[in-house]
């Protein structure tokens, strides 16, 4: 015990020293490396969509992501979709798009994955809010489901609007209903909820109900429409963006959208900031750093959450 105390004091001294050097003293000692964790459990949301749970206390806010390392294979940024502080659990939702996500989807209880983070600028909620609308397209619903949990815990009413091509791709319907959110689904084929898009549902909702903030995550064309609707109703709005990332630490510059770094300045942005970004809804960067149209970007399978 004594030794531990002495060590703790020594650490304090180092911190004192570091304070003179840099504003954020702990950062000098921070180690951004994956913590390899055993998978606590895997829950199938839908065919091809699994939520992987890990047992670890994580100080994460909704909208943040972790970098998930498959040892010897790849590392991918994935939104945190679930946190259970009481039971020290957190989860990410993975879905099959490419080689890496196929491996992630095949992971079973007891499997090992490396986690570093949480990273990124989160969504913000305030206690003054009474009612909020969340608009999730495809896997974009992942960070929003965590946001819904947090908002409901603060006593905020949540409209959880979720959309996908078909019923079997809609995420978190039961979980959100159970949690007490008003769930409004939209499918392109009408197999569940309204036939059409999440933005149609949002428009209808705002015709009858007042909300304090709109949050959106999904394809950029959807988020652009949501921002337009928020403008029409003079409402604040936050969206979460996605770009191919490398470091997650705000240094490599790979995830630039205009001069913003999506890994650090984002992924969550206020709509006013988004409107200053000429790349938003139009361009993204490939692994080489080449700026291409979003359509071409998506064909490279670099996106993590917008496939529907």
């Amino acid at each position: 015990m004594k030794n531990d105390d002495a060590e703790a004091r020594a650490d304090e001294n180092i911190e004192e020293m570091m304070k003179h050097l840099v504003k954020d003293p702990l950062k000098l000692l921070a180690v951004e490396q994956p913590d390899v964790l055993k998978i606590h459990s895997v829950y199938q949301e839908n065919p091809g969509f699994n939520t992987i749970l890990f047992e670890k206390e994580i100080n994460a806010k909704p909208g943040q992501f972790v970098n998930v390392w498959i040892p010897g294979i790849d590392e991918k940024p994935i939104s945190i979709s679930f946190v259970d502080r009481e039971n020290r659990l957190f989860g990410i939702t993975v879905f099959e798009t490419g080689r890496c996500s196929r491996i992630l989807c095949s992971m079973k209880k007891g499997g090992m994955l490396g986690i570093r983070g949480p990273y990124g600028n989160p969504f913000t909620i305030s206690k003054k809010m009474k009612r909020i609308a969340l608009v999730g397209g495809g896997c974009g619903a992942a960070p929003l489901s965590f946001l819904a949990d947090c908002a409901i815990a603060e006593g905020i009413e949540v409209y959880f609007i979720v959309g996908a091509k078909t019923k079997d791709k809609l995420l978190y319907i039961d979980r959100m209903k159970k949690r007490g959110a008003y769930v409004l689904a939209a499918t392109e084929d009408g197999s569940m909820g309204a036939k059409g898009f999440t933005t149609d549902v949002l428009r209808q909702l705002l015709n009858t109900d007042k909300v304090d903030m709109i949050y959106a995550c999904g394809p950029e064309i959807m988020m652009q429409k949501v921002i337009g609707i928020a403008d029409e109703h003079n409402l604040p709005c936050q969206i979460s963006m996605e770009r191919y990332m490398k470091c997650g630490l705000g240094v490599c510059g790979q995830c630039a959208c205009d001069d913003r770094l999506v890994c650090k300045d984002g992924p969550a942005f206020e709509k006013e900031e988004v409107k200053t970004m000429g790349d938003f809804g139009k361009y993204a960067r490939l692994k080489t750093g080449k700026k291409v149209g979003l359509k071409e970007y998506y064909t490279h399978g670099l996106n993590k959450q917008t496939a529907q």
């Binding site: 050097l21 840099v22 504003k23 954020d24 950062k27 000098l28 000692l29 921070a30 180690v31 951004e32 490396q33 994956p34 390899v36 970098n67 390392w69 040892p71 010897g72 294979i73 790849d74 590392e75 991918k76 090992m112 490396g114 570093r116 490398k246 470091c247 630490l249 705000g250 240094v251 490599c252 510059g253 790979q254 630039a256 205009d258 001069d259 770094l261 960067r285 490939l286 692994k287 080489t288 750093g289 080449k290 700026k291």
Partner: protein, 309 residues
């Protein structure tokens, strides 16, 4: 107080955004310039597009960073568009870093980048010292004086902008390499590139974490090596060749230290991880604070004074 000249390039302050950090997009480079960087350097670009190594390619450890990004960049036509954007929007001079697999590729890249008079960068930095592509290209050119001279003179022949040789610390005698670079026609030297390469093994996975297994070490832990390399190069070149002292510079005092060793400007890269993009202004403020307190009027009074007997 902090203004410096690198040959005929005037910098409002000696901080230079080092190559490889925030250097993918023209917009983020301009952001660094607007946040106080005295000059900005692009990520190394070459003739043929490269995706770089798979993730993970950047991590931190207790004493700094480790990276093996693997020289990713788009095709040179695309890079030229970014350069044009930067030149139109950056308040600070632009240095374009280039790489290649041989002297020909380096020379071609330098020609293409400095050809159009309307979009000519202030200087071309020749990256002959990347430690992360050895499987593909063999040992970095900067490990060998003959290759160093060959590449630099090839670039010098085609470049219409001043040529900066970026040297590696991973050599037994950096003076010899610096001499070769100068003999090849280098107008300036950047020292140093990342150290190593090093490796981090995750104990639970029992595997190296970086996809490339090894990667270049940067950040505070390499500063003493950077300072010594700059000291050696300054001695070898008798202070006649401007040196951009790079490696672990995080504070104003670090910057003063490497200038005392002989640097004319200071590169900042990993420091952005520790102090954010505001680091350039912070370092400048700290340098000014030191200079005022110690009665220095400009950086000429400090440069190389560690050598005086």
């Amino acid at each position: 107080m902090l203004g410096v000249s690198l040959k005929n390039i005037r910098l409002s302050n000696p901080t230079v955004l080092a190559s490889g950090i925030l250097g993918v997009a023209g917009e983020t480079l301009v952001r660094a310039a607007k946040n106080g960087a005295g000059a900005i350097t692009t990520k190394s670009i070459g003739i043929h597009p490269r995706e770089g190594h798979p993730n993970p390619c950047i991590l931190t450890h207790k004493h700094g960073l480790i990276n093996a990004v693997g020289l990713c960049h788009p095709a040179i036509e695309d890079s030229l568009k970014e350069i044009e954007y930067i030149l139109q929007n950056s308040p600070s001079p632009l240095i374009v870093s280039i790489h290649g697999k041989d002297a020909e590729e380096f020379a071609q890249a330098a020609r293409m980048i400095t050809q159009p008079a309307s979009v000519r960068p202030a200087a071309v930095e020749v990256n002959i010292s990347c430690p992360n592509v050895q499987d593909e290209f063999g040992k970095p050119f900067a490990s060998d004086p003959i290759l160093t001279k060959k590449i630099i003179s090839a670039v010098k022949n085609t470049s219409r902008a001043p040529v900066i040789a970026k040297l590696s610390p991973n050599v037994p005698n950096i003076k010899e390499i610096a001499r070769a670079a100068v003999n090849g026609g280098a107008d300036m030297i950047t020292a140093i590139n990342t150290l190593g390469p090093g490796m981090i093994i995750n104990l639970k996975a029992a595997k190296p974490i970086l996809s490339n297994k090894s990667g270049g070490i940067s950040g505070p832990c390499i500063k003493p090596i950077a300072v010594r390399c700059v000291y050696d190069i300054y001695e070898e070149t008798k202070g006649k060749i401007p040196i951009i002292g790079t490696g672990g510079i995080t504070t104003g005092e670090d910057a003063i230290e490497i200038i005392m060793a002989g640097a004319s400007a200071v590169g900042i890269g990993s420091g952005i991880y520790y102090r954010g993009i505001g680091i350039f202004k912070k370092v400048c403020r700290e340098m000014e604070g030191f200079m005022i307190k110690n009665g220095y009027r400009d950086l000429d009074e400090i440069r190389g004074i560690a050598h005086e007997k």
